[in-house]
Amino acid sequence: MKFISNICSSLWPELSGELKGRETQWSIDSSIRYPLLGMIKPAAFWFVVSLIFGLIASIKLHSPGFLGSCEWLTYGKVEPVFWNSLIYGWLFNAGLACAFWLLARLGGAPIGNGFLLTVSLSIWNVALVVGLIGILMGGTLPLNWRESLTVSGQLPYEWLEMPPFIAPILLASFIGMGLWGLLTFRERVHRASYASQWYVLAALFAFAWIYTAAQIMLIREPSQGSLQYLVGSWYANNLLMIVIVPLALACVYYLLPKALGTPIVGYNHSGRAFWSWFIFASCAGSAELINGPIPAWVTAVGIIAAFGILYPLTVFGIQFLSTLFANFTRIWDTLSLRFVLFGCIGFIVFGAYYIYGSLRSTQEVAQFSSFSNGVQLLGLLGFASMIFSGFLYFILSRLLNKELPSAALAEIHFWMQLSGVLLLVSSLITGGLQEGELMNGSTVSVLSIVVNLKSYYVMASLGMFLMLLGAIAFLVSFTLFMFSTRSEKEETGTLIGESPELEASVS
């Protein structure tokens, strides 16, 4: 019974005493609590699930016999399940939860239409379960649109592997969530807008657009020949660069002044950084198709666009790192800022590798190796996942009016995620570069090269395993957050102090 009363007190807390100037914030948090917990819960679940599949896929790369007798867990199924559950499960749920919380907070008024958000996100997660089971079951590819409504089976496009009948359901539920975001932004009290809000809105529009376009051009009315690969790479690149990354950037822009108490250094360049990011990043997808059957100028434009990211990356790098380093002593004592610090460093390294990896001379070596997977994982796990983790700790205590249940678990989550991502990404990137160099420059057989690279894949598996431990620590942390008995201190409205006003310093 205790269990039930605890969960009820988490979902519908009644605080005693005065709120000390936090009435507005508390009313906003109360209005959005139910839908947000409905996103954070599946997020924590998907984080663990995706890394379990990631670990299996990673082990299969160096020990092919692992789970070899299980036809549900062949490499060709486990690998797409890992990517899809990581992106649509963990990063979408966590990222949208953070994004919606900051939309509500920056809007300055309790949110309406919570029902729309709750229903949409429930449909999204149920559809995701069905879609991933569809990949695991396997089956034949549908021949046309009509048949695709009834046939399960995996599609051959990166990050679009789920059976086609799931797509309209996912899109509809996403439109529900996106609509909620737009309505909340429209109902805001403060008329001025902040960079975080731009990035959230842009990411909402971007996903609705790229998902619709990719579904139509690949499944509904399939384009012919090499155009398919152009659309496929355009979609995968944009999902990472103009949907996931902007959500994480929005969180960074919000959390830095919020937790440090100083404005962003050089904030007046944010507008230019925003537009140049979306213009360059959205065109960069064709760079990876170099030397393929695509007109030369298309890949040339892709490479220029990928290189153009240098401009917004410089702005972001200086803005974030200057703001963080100016208040360095506060970082280590604030859990969420630790994640943000390493997330920001991860972002700059990711951007540098993204540019480096799109150059012609690098692609001569690194194309078709594990290099590009390493760079993608650096963006997804080293940047976005770090930022969302930190941000979730920040909002969970506010949503529930509870303290961090266990600092030790949070420490485990942080260190495991950091060391895991370092091991995983560095082994995939260096392994990929070395693989390419050996393939290009030596005359030994392909098999001996593969054997030679085994240690890199073992290291990647170890990194995956460490990340899995971190994800489990987060899941346990979240469960304790929800189920722990409310202490006396946590029943008062003064647990969280009033926020001071931000002071504009001249920088």
Partner: protein, 221 residues
């Protein structure tokens, strides 16, 4: 986590908020309206922008292959080599006899064999065959153009199989080359055949199915 012991790695239960949401929006929107002269961000980002422009300019000049939608190669050297590619042996004129040999090897040799001996019991030989060496070249031309089916006697041997026309898509000159080749190879020594002869035979027989040996028996009477 005890707060008295500074040695223990300590995390506060709640990350403090150091700025209210309203002030974040307002202060930053004020910063955007201010004109700031000379900041680190301005300096480094303009440098980055110049680097991007330079890189883009070189790439557009060097690697777009003139925006040719058919051109997949991006390096100038590769494009030059591709456009100036000459297949090996190109530019050497072939004699009519050699063209005929090539066509015979592609279209005829699977039955009549490379050496023109045919296959005993199945396909009649061409080497020494009275049907091929007939002084009126119209006979072999007719057979090549329309095919021949049913029983036939060649060099005293009885054969019974089915030859379809395999030259429907060829020009008269090439048909003439094939007939010339079979009439002058493997020890055969009969007259050359010209495109005009083929054309006149074509006109005579029109479009028709395979011959029978009986129909052509008149050549031997």
């Amino acid at each position: 986590m005890s707060e008295d012991n500074p040695d223990v790695l300590n995390l506060p239960g709640i990350d403090e908020s150091k700025a209210s949401d309203e002030s974040i929006v307002k202060v930053h929107s004020r910063i955007r309206r201010q004109r700031v002269a000379g900041s680190a961000v301005a300096f480094f980002s303009s440098t980055a922008f110049i680097i991007v422009l330079t890189f883009g300019w070189f790439q557009l000049r060097r690697h777009t292959a003139g925006y040719d939608p058919q051109m997949y190669l991006s390096e100038r050297g590769d494009i030059h080599a591709f456009l100036n590619y000459v297949p090996a042996g190109a530019g050497v004129e072939k004699t009519p006899f050699e063209i005929g040999q090539e066509l015979y090897m592609m279209r005829c040799s699977s039955c009549h064999q490379v050496n023109g001996e045919g296959m005993a019991g199945n396909f009649p030989p061409l080497a020494g065959s009275e049907w091929v060496l007939h002084e009126d070249a119209a006979l072999p031309i007719k057979i090549v153009l329309a095919g021949i089916a049913g029983p036939i006697t060649v060099m005293g041997q009885q054969y019974n199989s089915n030859m379809a026309s395999v030259v429907g898509d060829l020009e008269d000159r090439d048909v003439a080359n094939i007939v010339t080749y079979i009439r002058q190879s493997w020890g055969n020594e009969a007259s050359e055949v010209t495109a005009d002869q083929v054309a006149s035979v074509k006109e005579e027989i029109g479009s028709r199915g395979p011959w029978t040996a009986e129909e052509l028996q008149s050549y031997f009477e």
